[in-house]
Subunit: 343 residues, 2 copies
Amino acid sequence: MVKKPTIKDVARRAGVSIATVSFVLNNSPGQVISEPVKKKVMKAAKALNYHPSAIAAGLASRRTGNIAIVFYRSPDLISNQYYSFVLEGAIREAARRGYNLFFSYVDAEYGAAEELPKVVREGNTDGVIFVKQVHPQMVRDIESRAIPVVVIDHFPRTSDVNAIEIDNFRGAEMAAEHLIALGHRRIACLFACGDRPSIQGRLDGYRHAMELAGIPLHDRDSLVDCGDLGFEAGLESALHLLSRKRRPTAILCVNDELAAGVLRAAHGAGLSVPSDLSVTGFDNITMSRFTDPPITTVSGDKEELGAHAIRRLVEIIARKSADKIQEVLPVSLIVRNSTAVAP
Amino acid sequence: MVKKPTIKDVARRAGVSIATVSFVLNNSPGQVISEPVKKKVMKAAKALNYHPSAIAAGLASRRTGNIAIVFYRSPDLISNQYYSFVLEGAIREAARRGYNLFFSYVDAEYGAAEELPKVVREGNTDGVIFVKQVHPQMVRDIESRAIPVVVIDHFPRTSDVNAIEIDNFRGAEMAAEHLIALGHRRIACLFACGDRPSIQGRLDGYRHAMELAGIPLHDRDSLVDCGDLGFEAGLESALHLLSRKRRPTAILCVNDELAAGVLRAAHGAGLSVPSDLSVTGFDNITMSRFTDPPITTVSGDKEELGAHAIRRLVEIIARKSADKIQEVLPVSLIVRNSTAVAP
DNA sequence: CTGAAAGCGCTTACAG
DNA sequence: CTGAAAGCGCTTACAG
């Protein structure tokens, strides 16, 4: 059983006070330590394989070195391909900045401060990242404890929160422009969860591109609410859509799973993609490369989304600055074989 | 700016000492507190919305209330569907047990104790869960600090480690038995990363079922190393395999992505699945339901894998017991439309 | 340039 | 049944 060396052990071995050890190891600003002393301390610390207790340092300094990333409880948030990439980016960046990352869930309801995330209530984190959903009052309660908050894909869309998202509007617009450039006019849009800002942005982008192209939108025909964003929902909705007398020549889907469902529906209806029907997705999840045909889709840098959130948070922690800003990360269109010139 | 109330505030409001507050709130064993005093303390704590500082409690009690889950750095570990479910199960169970969960990465190389995970070096965790890969010496170094370790899908396969995995052997065996029962004899096995124990177990299960059925295995023909476990690898390997004079009537794949690639290859080769060729996968990832046809696969309870690891760890932390055991979680065969009677 | 000392907010023997 | 006090391992004004 090895017991962790303490700062005292280092001080004794180096022949200095524990204060000096602390100054050297933390490179404390305003403290000038002579080179020889510095060397002695470093050597002793190294020899003992000393690492300061995060807990003790946290208690004394009032900063924990931890960041919490909080998800609203939802059946498949993390196993959701999309957010798992975000997570991965966040973990890497946090490690690079010397922060540990806590993971936690929080319930959808928020009554009183009593229900703040455990890590917040117990003073165990220097900052919080929320993913997707957020309760505005909870954010305020957290920030009132001097703990900054950054939200990824914020929903609802309040403006008094630090937020980052990918450019959903421009992404859908690019997909629509791509289809229009291929000569399509009857372009339907499959969506769901229209109240989420990320989806809303995509719908708006689609609408805007259609408008610019002078294509009138008959909402009843063009916009199809699938109920949810899964494969089966896309399949069912496309089956209906494709059985209409004047069926669309292209379908823009707000995510890749829906698009995969559409592909299956087209197959079932005896339509060939892309010669009879063009299909676009959104998100560039792994599966979108493996469908038959591979799906033309919109891709944002998901890992960067997570990394950027950490960077923002660390900056705010350091500067204690408090202007709330919303940032948008660029997206790109990835053209694959599910889209072609209109028939 | 709200400042967190401390134990002193509660003590003052309740008219008792801070020790009493601590006893009441922690339900300290061996301390008998009168009901009226208990009530007073609880009321005061509630009124102030007091929650003990995890940091201060950690320093005083020498337990942090944190568990770390550590991944070896690898490009797609978390975004890997499989492990994201494991993660999800772990987060839930940890929360239920009152533990916070740290996430971190560690490099594949391990030289000295110097390179232990940061949370371990800094005394910030009560236990560690490794996912998939593990460096035996690192485990020993961590345990020598009285921090227990549990490994999920341990690799390499040392026996002096607490480990949990799904029943890979039995899973592959079931898949093979299923194919054999359908009358198949020429059953190829697509695999990769044969040195990983999870894959190794699957290979052994396949071999065992074939042996029991008295089907001779010509390793060169039957066992195909795809190089990696991805879709494209499965596609390429199947293309070769299916162009042979005596092609197999069934292909057992060690994971679903390979199986999806095989489906595509069959399609490209003009073979119909399942009438011309049966295909099985492993893992039951989301995509396996969406391929055409949906894939017959083996499913373990991935969330349970994560949850169980947490439970084990918490038990070991509580009991300080140290017998190393390896557990295996059951799996089930999910029959879908990619398998049928041999042609 | 360095050290002695207070204090961070708890827990836990130890008394009574 | 309850309280006074030491101590967990650090950081950080404050002296010198």
